[in-house]
């Protein structure tokens, strides 16, 4: 087991190196840079700033400087925020995380329930109805969904705040603060949930359909177990297993935020910041963030495999 993990960790290295190169050189291909974003700068001033920020070095050299710092845990210095990238990420990432986490939990809960019910009642009215609803959610562009919810639920009905994370100017603490934030989270979470639920529901449904046709489910029935036990203990467990990997795959998404949704709901998350950083070409922030996500993705892939190993006795690692 330890060897396995070690080996897998070693395998991560080439992927990460590849990712870092791809990230660096892709960004370096992007036209424009931070200094260029101010059209009023004079050429000399620009040259000065280029030198100051090191934009005048050849790409290769900059790559090695960047990767060197990266290895020391230094993601660089955000040009736009004038502070370390790690600090900027730290400022925004958690609010993204909470929204994503809430919607992740909700999505899974709903998807599992719907998936199970519509699989056990395949081709029933419920199944078809849910299929349509789920496809409908999948077929709506996210920005559009967001707009609809803001319009109806926030502006017209006034049930929820239209955006932001806390009531402006409020100085709440403790529970009141949590409640305030929760209230602001509802709409973005709703959007993310609706977007995410489609695929997952379909996935669970197909998984369940497959599992309930398996021999061991028949065995469970032959033992005279209650149908509830057959479905939830025997079938669902097996259907959930492959999904564990998916769950781990969602890890990076927890931190990478949801660019559109955050923007629409004014959520102070990393997605919104990413957009802004992109418009001003704050490369250290962009690259740092992308690299962070790449690292998370790679780690969560590993985690997915390990988790799967823990959860599924068949592949449980020695």
């Amino acid at each position: 087991m330890r060897n396995y993990v070690l080996k897998r960790l070693l395998y991560l290295i080439p992927t990460l190196i590849g990712a870092s190169m791809l990230i660096f050189f892709l960004y370096s291909l992007v036209p424009g840079n931070f200094v260029d974003s101010d059209p009023n700068l004079t050429t000399e001033r620009k040259a000065e700033l280029y030198a100051l920020y090191g934009f005048d070095q050849p790409d290769i050299e900059r790559y090695f400087i960047w990767i060197g710092n990266l290895l020391q845990g230094d993601l660089g210095y955000s040009l736009q925020f004038q502070r370390p990238v790690t600090e900027v990420l730290g400022n925004y990432i958690w609010s993204s995380f909470f929204v994503a986490l809430a919607s992740l939990i909700l999505t899974w809960l709903i998807a599992v329930i719907i998936g199970v019910v519509s699989a056990t009642k395949q081709y029933s009215f419920f199944d078809s109805f849910i299929t349509i609803i789920v496809f409908a959610a999948m077929a709506t562009p996210s920005f559009f969904l967001g707009l609809i919810l803001i319009k109806f639920l926030a502006v017209d009905l006034g049930w929820f705040p239209a955006g932001g994370m806390i009531t402006t100017g409020s100085n709440l603490t403790g529970w009141d603060y949590v409640k305030d934030v929760a209230e602001h989270m509802i709409l973005p979470v709703l959007v993310l949930t609706m977007l995410g639920i489609g695929g997952l529901t379909r996935y669970f449904r197909t998984n369940m359909l497959e599992v309930i046709k398996q021999d061991f489910v028949r065995t469970a029935r032959a033992k005279g177990l209650k149908e509830r036990v057959v479905i939830y203990k025997h079938a669902l467990r097996n259907a959930l297993l492959p999904a564990i990997t998916l769950f781990a795959f969602e890890l990076p998404a927890l931190f990478s935020g949801a660019i559109i949704t955050e923007q629409i709901f004014n959520w102070p998350g990393i997605g919104a910041i990413y957009m802004q950083a992109f418009t001003v070409r704050d490369y250290p922030l962009l690259m740092g963030f992308t690299m962070f996500i790449a690292l998370l993705t790679v780690i969560s892939n590993l985690l997915a495999d390990l988790l799967y190993g823990v959860a599924d006795p068949r592949v449980r690692l020695k």
């Binding site: 395949q122 081709y123 046709k213 398996q214 021999d215 061991f216 028949r218 065995t219 469970a220 029935r221 032959a222 033992k223 005279g224 177990l225 209650k226 149908e227 036990v229 203990k233 025997h234 467990r237 097996n238 297993l241 959860a311 599924d312 006795p313 068949r314 449980r316």
Partner: protein, 328 residues
């Protein structure tokens, strides 16, 4: 053998839905199993053996098929008319089943112990601890040592033979009076097959169980059966006590089956072959379903189904060859 029938099937019709229409997988099958008797159901693949067993267990997947007609009387109660809950309470307790593929028939993510005790707890209402005790005994009973170790292991950690023993342990955990075994040894090696058959024989004797054993291996039949039922294309075509049937097969199909099997130390230059193949169950015309492959096919065979006829004491055959009045 004047014992009471423990299971009596009358005119059972089980149909599956398919692209081409309904498939009569079990077509008006009637049979009975008496207390303490081992009945073997033989026939080629697809002839409806498993479907018969599944119909008895009430395990036909409603999305793919249904029992359309007939009675399944278990100790006089019709299982088909029973409420779902009541049937469930009998299932696994009074009658139990073993399946062909031990590897896929056990839940891969639950421990063996969990799967053995589950039905004990469900049916015998024992506590977890008592159930475990019972489980360990069962493991011992089916001839595997290291009870504790097995108890906490997962199916993939055991070999096919061991799993099949576990399946047996699960099936007999609540002392059922009828055990249905659907090709319990087909997936196993000969040496293991011998062990399992031995085990089943012993258990049956010790516990005075009745057994419906499904197989396509005539060798197995000869070893364990008291009574043999031969099925072909969803119908019973011949049945009789084992010695009688092997010594004196009547139906051309039964004869063919016996002749086609290579037997050890009885090498022949050429094996007997039944020409052709099993007909498709979807669009069968009223005829003897074996008529297409039969050497003795007569004109009536292609137009009318032969009725079941008793040849001798409890030896029945469904073949026009034995109907005097038609030999015109």
């Amino acid at each position: 053998m004047a014992k009471e029938p423990i299971l009596q099937i009358n005119q059972l019709l089980t149909q599956f839905y398919s692209d081409g229409g309904k498939v009569n997988a079990v077509n008006n099958v009637s049979l009975e199993i008496r207390e303490g008797q081992t009945v073997c159901l033989v026939g080629e693949s697809g002839c409806g053996k498993s479907a018969t067993a599944m119909s008895v267990m009430g395990l036909i997947d409603p999305s793919s098929g249904q029992v359309s007609n007939g009675e399944v009387l278990f100790e006089g109660q019709d299982l088909l008319k029973m409420k779902k809950g009541d049937l469930r309470r009998l299932r696994g307790k009074d009658f139990a089943m073993i399946f062909q593929e031990p590897m896929s028939s056990l839940n891969p993510v639950l421990t063996i112990g969990e799967q053995i005790t589950e039905s004990i707890i469900e049916h015998e209402l024992l506590s977890k601890k008592e159930a475990k005790q019972r489980g360990l005994e069962l493991i011992n009973l089916v001839g595997i040592g290291r009870g504790e170790e097995i108890f906490s292991s997962y199916p993939h950690q055991l070999s096919g033979g061991m799993l099949q023993r576990i399946m047996i342990a699960i099936a007999i955990s609540c002392n059922p009076r009828l055990l249905i075994a659907d090709e319990p040894t087909t997936a196993l090696d000969v040496t293991i097959q011998a062990q399992i058959l031995d085990l089943l024989r012993n258990l049956k004797e010790e516990r005075n169980m009745s057994m419906l054993l499904i197989t396509h291996d005539l060798g197995v039949v000869a070893e364990v059966a008291d009574y043999v039922i031969v099925m072909y294309a969803g119908k019973i075509i011949e049945q009789g006590p084992v010695v009688e049937l092997f010594k004196n097969p009547k139906h051309p199909y039964t004869k063919g089956l016996l002749a086609a099997k290579p037997v050890i130390n009885q090498r022949r230059e050429k094996l007997y072959t039944i020409p052709g193949q099993v007909p498709n169950l979807i669009d069968l015309q009223p005829s003897c379903y074996f008529s297409e492959r039969c050497e003795h096919c007569m004109s009536i065979c292609t137009t009318k189904q032969p009725p079941m006829k008793q040849i001798r004491d409890s030896h029945d055959v469904a073949c026009w060859l034995y109907e005097e009045e038609v030999s015109v």
